[in-house]
């Protein structure tokens, strides 16, 4: 069907897709686990939050912004010592997860924070009037009420990670994007480039539809 799709190339594509999945999945998992607490901390300690702590809020916000504003390709090489500390090496698919997770965490933390800010203040006030503790307000009001927004944030982050992961080739991370660059561009094989691009489009589409469906299910408006 596709004559240029040799068995060798097929293996390469499968391997690259797998690498992309690992990088995106790993980084997304970390960003979810670390990003949500950061977002909650940012939200709760804001001046108009449940327990305002500017001393904590401002530095934390600054760090998140710093990570967010550093171009990913620079971030990746800038944190090589840290990557080595965490992953034991600074090259390879596993090592690429470290900078991806860092960038995604900062990214998702802001998106989560926005989603939390969308929660109706009146509902929080009602919970306070019922005698809810701060922890109860966070766990039983803020997070469930923000759920559609939180899921949408995860979707956006996953899609962005697919894009970022293409740059992971710079540290030997592999993946579909890297395959496209090395074979499609550097070896003049436009059909490989096209295949990679189509695969990435399909991947992003799938992620987006899945995310949208979950958002709909979580929305009771």
């Amino acid at each position: 069907m596709l004559p240029w799709l040799t068995p060798t190339l097929q293996d390469l594509l499968i391997e690259a897709a797998w690498q992309t999945a690992i990088m995106v999945g790993g980084a997304a998992a970390v960003s979810l686990l670390v990003g949500l607490p950061i977002a909650l901390l940012l939200h709760v300690t804001a001046t108009d939050g449940l327990s305002p702590r500017p001393v904590l809020n401002r530095p934390l916000g600054l760090i998140v912004n710093a990570v967010r504003s550093t171009p990913f390709i620079i971030l990746m090489v800038a944190i090589v010592p840290f990557t080595r500390l965490v992953a034991g090496t600074s090259i390879g698919t596993g090592a690429a997860i470290v900078p991806l997770a860092l960038a995604a965490t900062a990214f998702i933390a802001r998106l989560f924070e926005n989603a939390l800010r969308e929660v109706d203040r009146g509902v929080i006030e009602a919970a306070r009037a019922m005698g809810a503790t701060r922890t109860q307000i966070v766990l039983k009001v803020l997070v469930p009420e923000a759920m559609p927004g939180l899921i949408a944030a995860v979707t956006v982050t996953l899609v962005s990670l697919v894009g970022y992961s293409a740059m992971a080739g710079a540290v030997g991370g592999g993946g579909l994007g890297d395959l496209g660059i090395r074979f499609g561009y550097q070896r003049f094989m436009p059909e490989v480039m096209a295949t990679v691009v189509v695969l990435l489009i399909l991947l992003v589409q799938a992620l987006q539809s899945l995310g949208d469906r979950l958002v709909r299910r979580a929305t009771h408006r």
Binding site: V123, E125, A127, M130, G131, A132, P144, E145, M147, R221
Partner: protein, 361 residues
């Protein structure tokens, strides 16, 4: 007339502490020129429905939010059912809040939870076991007429239904005191009537004390026993609803009262009244009939006794709670002394006689 007597005879008797006692509450928001609350003191007796009425910005919201300390007053004390809330620590305050129900203008329901789950929410917070929560929700659903909507989400409900959920939720932990923050202000008139009827019904059934704030005098007229009028953070008038409605003192109160039991006569009507004959005088009187005086043929008797002509410009009969009253706007023609004499005679019968023109101001 004692303006600030206890609510209903018997209700305030006994040794029960006041449901709410606010003493010298003051609050100024940072950056605000004027205080939101300026030395407000109020007492709500157990079992009464107390209304606080005022224009937007008068400080009503701040006041009711001070009762469960959602808002901290800068000065003054808040006591609810004998507990000094302003003296409690965080944990103590949370426990106290669980015994105070609150209903909100915009319902403030959790959109991610069903009706039943919303009603169960305060119980969940208080650590009530699941089975007991379910039993309580099943009791509350029919009480507010929502048994059919158990599993609906708030977005699928009408405004009135949402407020019913809000009320059931506020009552979930069987509080003695219910705070209503403009509970009907987001509803259409018909639904407002419905919700007020529900609150009135629940009040007697559950022996609730209700403290409500509103900008609608009609709400006060329908539901309240006593009312306080708030203006610029101060209580400018308070008393039994019937007294305040039939004999308002402050100009703001008069304007509020006029909204529901308007006594103002159109200027064109007044202008069309015939001028008095030479040597005679004309006075425009507003006569308020309450109680037994309403049964007497006052107009014809005054006319006969004092030899004056009384022209009825407008009149209406209304009731506050179960107490009926009537208001007449009269144009009185006659010798100056005779008109004054008739007014004095009517006052002697227990009628409230005032100047109609002054009422209009």
């Amino acid at each position: 007339m004692p303006r600030d007597a206890a609510a209903e005879p018997g209700q305030a008797a006994g040794l029960r502490p006041p449901a709410v006692r606010l003493q010298n509450l003051s609050k100024r928001f940072p950056g605000a020129l004027k205080p939101a609350l300026d030395d407000v003191s109020l007492e709500v007796a157990p079992g009464e429905v107390f209304g606080i009425v005022g224009r937007s910005g008068a400080g009503k919201s701040t006041l009711i939010r001070c009762v469960n300390l959602l808002e901290r007053p800068d000065a003054g004390s808040v006591e609810v059912e004998g507990t000094l809330l302003t003296g409690l620590d965080e944990a103590g305050l949370r426990a106290a809040r669980r015994r105070i129900g609150m209903v909100f203008q915009h319902f403030n329901l959790l959109s991610s939870r069903t009706v039943a789950e919303n009603i169960a929410f305060p119980l969940e917070i208080a650590g009530v076991p699941r089975a007991a929560r379910r039993t309580r929700v099943e009791e509350l659903l029919p009480l507010v007429g929502l048994a059919e909507k158990r599993d609906a989400y708030p977005a699928q409900l009408s405004g009135g239904q949402k407020q019913r959920v809000g009320i059931a939720r506020a009552l979930a932990s069987a509080p003695g005191l219910l705070l209503c923050d403009e509970a009907t202000s987001a509803l259409d008139p018909e639904t407002t009537t419905e919700i007020l009827a529900l609150l009135g019904d629940l009040r007697t059934r559950l022996n609730l004390t209700i403290l409500l704030i509103t900008h609608e005098m009609a709400v006060v007229k329908t539901l309240c026993d006593r009312v306080a009028v708030l203006e610029a953070g101060r209580v400018i008038e308070q008393g039994r609803v019937f007294d305040v409605f039939t004999d308002p003192q402050a100009p703001t109160t008069r304007r509020f009262v006029a909204e529901v039991i308007g006594t103002a006569v159109p200027a064109a009507t007044l202008a069309a009244l015939p001028a008095p004959n030479a040597g005679e005088t004309r006075r425009l009187l507003r006569v308020l009939f309450t109680g037994t005086a309403a049964t007497r043929a006052v107009v014809s008797e005054a006319s006969r006794r004092f030899g004056i002509d009384l022209n009825i410009v407008s009149g209406r009969i209304d009731a506050i709670g179960d107490a009926p009253f009537g208001i007449l706007a009269l144009a009185a023609y006659g010798a100056p002394g005779a008109v004054e004499g008739a007014a004095a005679w009517m006052r002697g019968l227990g009628l409230h006689v005032g100047d109609l023109a002054a009422e209009e101001a």
